[in-house]
């Protein structure tokens, strides 16, 4: 590290610029990663965090709740094939407060039986019962409070918030959990059907279901409208950012190495081993990358704290750490081309000035 530290100190501007580039790329990767995780959670937290292991949907529903309808009789028949099964109806809607009728909020109704295994766990207030509804924490951002009443825009039925659960969302909207009784009041025409059956399965064998399919939780999330397209494009951006950073850094360090070829010849002539020069190069790149990554980590962590609630952004310490590690490895890997060049420098080039 003798040479590396002194070179870094001497050429602050040059290495500062490289650091800045790495910082910007790492920051962008972390930001997009956080956004992807946030959007994913926003899209299907109510499904992914549910204790249900799978869902039974009508055949031909293409793994989408909105396209699935099961009659209650059918649902009861199907339920017998599983150890635990409970009907679930999902429908998107709009709600508004009495005082503030002009301001409507989009949300998703999850019709679940009180006390069933998919009933929400309340973090404040009561658990789901017939006196009111349990709603997603996300509704707090729109001003909804415990004990408050609100109106379903379509049916005009008034519901009371008796509890809040975690930030449960479905297709980017907060979830309102209602009991079948309340749902009947709101949708009198739909008393004989449910969307699907939520099941908890311990065995891996697939039971034969007439006119219905057992769909995994993951398949449901993948088919939430817009989910795959959204995550796919974000993942592609992240992959490209990694590729871009490898190429940019490799070119950068290669150019720096080429500039130093003569110097490397002299160092070798003086008795420096190639392995020492390799450590010097990797040390230099490692320090630059580490510095940039640490700054990016701090900025992203700080940003996550001040991000408005409406912006879906989730980043965990573990993801920050993994991404940082990958980046330092990527930066060091980008030095490989340069190392080959350094290994090939002939110490004899130091003799004879600039030629002869």
């Amino acid at each position: 590290m003798f040479l590396a530290l002194r070179d870094l100190r001497h050429a602050k501007l040059k290495f500062g610029l490289i650091s800045l580039i790495i910082f910007l790329i790492v920051f962008l990767v972390l930001f997009i990663t956080g956004l992807a995780a946030g959007l994913a959670s926003d899209n299907g937290a109510a499904i992914s965090e549910s204790p249900a292991s799978g869902y039974v949907l009508q055949k031909g529903a293409e793994n989408r709740f909105s396209r699935s309808t099961l009659t209650k009789t059918k649902a009861q028949q199907l339920a017998k094939k599983f150890k635990q099964a409970t009907p679930l109806t999902i429908q998107q809607g709009t709600i508004q407060r009495a005082k503030d009728a002009a301001k409507k909020t989009d949300m998703a109704y999850f019709v679940v039986k009180q006390g069933s295994f998919i009933a929400p766990k309340s973090v404040s207030g009561q658990t789901l019962n017939t006196t009111g509804v349990v709603v997603s924490d996300k509704l707090k951002a729109s001003g909804y409070r415990l004990g408050q009443k609100f109106k379903d825009s379509q049916s005009g039925v008034t519901l009371k918030i008796i509890g809040f659960t975690t930030a449960m969302t479905y297709s980017h909207t907060p979830v309102v959990y209602v009991t079948p009784n309340q749902w009947q009041k709101m949708m009198p025409q739909e008393t004989q059907t449910v969307s699907a059956l939520a099941v908890k399965q311990t065995t891996t064998t697939k039971p034969k279901l007439a006119g219905a399919n057992l769909v995994s939780k993951e398949a449901i999330i993948q088919n939430v409208p817009g989910y795959s397209a959204e995550q796919g494009s974000l993942d592609m951006m992240i992959a490209f950012l990694y590729i871009i950073s490898v190429v940019v850094l490799a070119v950068f360090f290669y150019v720096i190495t080429i500039q130093k070829i003569r110097e490397f010849g002299v160092l070798k002539a003086l008795g420096t081993k190639t392995s020492y020069l390799a450590r010097y190069l990797i040390g230099e790149i490692g320090v630059v990358a580490l510095l940039a990554v640490i700054i990016a980590d701090i900025v992203v962590a700080a940003l996550a704290q001040v991000m408005p609630a409406a912006m879906p952004f989730i980043i965990s310490g573990q993801i920050i750490l993994t991404t940082s590690l990958i980046f330092v490895v990527v930066a060091v890997l980008s030095a490989v081309v340069s190392l080959v060049k350094v290994a090939r420098v002939d110490p004899n080039t130091a003799i004879g000035g600039a030629g002869e």
Partner: protein, 224 residues
């Protein structure tokens, strides 16, 4: 007494298609400790090739190279690197100091490479002796050509090698500075009892050396 550097019948040739280009022909030379030798000759006479072979940088096609009695001709690159570090001090044509190291660090680096500790005082003494005491924390860019070449002399002496090899040390200096540098080099060689070979085409400094060899078309001859 063993010669510090001995070359016997060294031949170096390159194959160019069918033709064989001989750069060095039957070169023999011996330099004793405390002896300052100069090899003079025009460009292309084989001066650089001679220095590369003497400095464990290039393998001769034929003949042997001995350093302090040990034959080094057929040693591996790795062993050569170690020999260059510990037993040979190089002074290059354009000083070739490392641009991002201060004068003190240029010398410290040599101790770091050789894994020798407690060399601070030695480095300071060497630099003081070469009249660079007020330049210790300067970078090469801030030094004059003569000062840079003096730092190079100090660097070459840092690991206390037995042999000093100087490649045209006056090439980038005017005659007055060139003479100063060669004088200092001579004084160090004599005072520390080193063997030194300087390759040069600067005839004006030849009165400062002990032995002069003339090289022409790859043939080395001692001049009287």
């Amino acid at each position: 007494m063993t010669e510090t550097l001995k070359l016997t019948n060294v031949v170096k040739y390159y194959q160019d298609g069918d033709a064989r280009i001989e750069v060095l022909r039957e070169v023999s030379l011996a330099v004793k400790p405390g002896e300052f030798a100069a090899v003079v000759g025009p460009s292309g006479a084989g001066k650089s090739t001679f220095l590369s072979i003497a400095g464990a940088l290039l393998r001769p096609s034929e003949g042997q190279v001995y350093l302090a009695g040990q034959e080094i001709t057929q040693l591996s690159q790795k062993q050569w690197t170690k020999i260059r570090l510990e037993q040979i001090g190089f002074i290059f044509q354009n000083s070739e100091l490392i641009p991002y190291l201060t004068v003190m660090d240029q010398l410290r680096y040599m101790s770091v490479l050789a894994k020798r500790k407690g060399q601070e005082q030695r480095a300071q003494d060497l630099l003081t002796h070469l009249e660079l005491a007020n330049r210790l924390q300067q970078y090469p860019a801030a030094l004059s050509g003569g000062e840079r070449q003096r730092v190079a002399i100090a660097r070459a002496l840092m690991n206390d090698p037995q042999l000093i090899l100087a490649d045209e040390p006056t090439a980038s200096l005017d005659s007055k500075r060139g003479r100063e540098v060669v004088t200092m080099l001579r004084d160090e060689v004599h005072a520390n009892h080193k063997a030194a070979v300087m390759v040069t085409h600067d005839e004006r400094v030849l009165d400062l050396v002990d032995t002069v060899y003339q090289i022409e078309d790859g043939v080395l001859k001692k001049k009287d």
